[in-house]
């Protein structure tokens, strides 16, 4: 009975991890900018790797290897936030501007007066 409960918990946490890894990959492919891709990628690091490592820690029933998993998940979370800060700071320093949504310009040659800005 306890084995069934623990295995169900492991499968649930691992599926949450796989979902966040898929979302992170989708964001990395589809989003338009370095900063937004970084936003998707850090989700992948913290929640995806964190939940899969926590699922394995539950599967190990928090023995010494399970505590290693918890320490590894904590290390990944700290490293992910630090590298995210470092990459975004470096990208801003070398002059990559954040992405802005383009306003549709139907007649780009003429100087129209009623330009809609959003």
């Amino acid at each position: 009975m306890l084995d069934i409960f623990i295995n169900t918990l492991v499968i649930i946490f691992a599926c949450i991890g796989i979902f966040f890894f898929l979302v992170g990959t989708l964001g990395l492919i589809r989003l338009p900018d370095v900063y937004t891709r970084l936003h998707a990628g850090t989700k992948c690091d913290t929640l995806g790797a964190g939940s899969i490592l926590f699922a394995l820690a539950i599967y190990e029933r928090f023995s010494i290897n399970g505590l290693k998993m918890v320490v590894l998940a904590f290390l990944v979370m700290v490293a992910s936030s630090t590298t995210g800060h470092a990459i975004s700071r470096a990208a801003y320093k070398i002059g990559i501007m954040p992405w802005r949504k383009k306003v549709l310009d139907v007649f780009p040659e003429e100087e129209s007066e009623n330009v809609t800005e959003s």
Binding site: N7, V10, I11, A14, G17, I18, F21, L22, G24, T25, L28, I29, V34, R37, L38, G41, C44, D45, G48, A49, I52, L53, L56, Y59, N65, K68, M69, L72, L75, V76, A79, S80, T82, T83, A86, I87, R89, A90, A91, K93, I94, I96
Partner: protein, 89 residues
């Protein structure tokens, strides 16, 4: 339970190859760094899963080494981009 871990590992390997697509076509250098960072995190999780698929717990310590190496590589490349060379101080 080992078959489930094998399925999770295969899904993550497929995801890592999709992330390498961004690392190849990325227009700027920080895009490639982000993609390689995510591939490194997936490698770490796959190594921990390999420890349970094959029943060899040595790979967990290898995953620790990969986590530290991934962190140091990313911070070093970001620092290199920011200063444009080796840090003087």
């Amino acid at each position: 339970m080992q078959n489930f871990f094998l399925a999770v590992g295969l899904i993550l390997v497929t995801n890592a190859f999709i992330c390498l697509f961004r690392a190849i076509i990325g227009p700027t250098l920080p895009d490639r760094i982000v993609a390689i960072n995510i591939v490194g995190t997936k490698t770490l999780v796959i190594l921990v899963l390999i420890a349970y698929i094959f029943g060899q717990h040595m790979y967990i310590d290898t995953a620790f080494v990969y986590a530290l190496l991934n962190f140091i590589v990313t911070v070093a490349v970001a620092r290199y981009l920011e200063t444009g060379g080796l840090p003087s101080a």
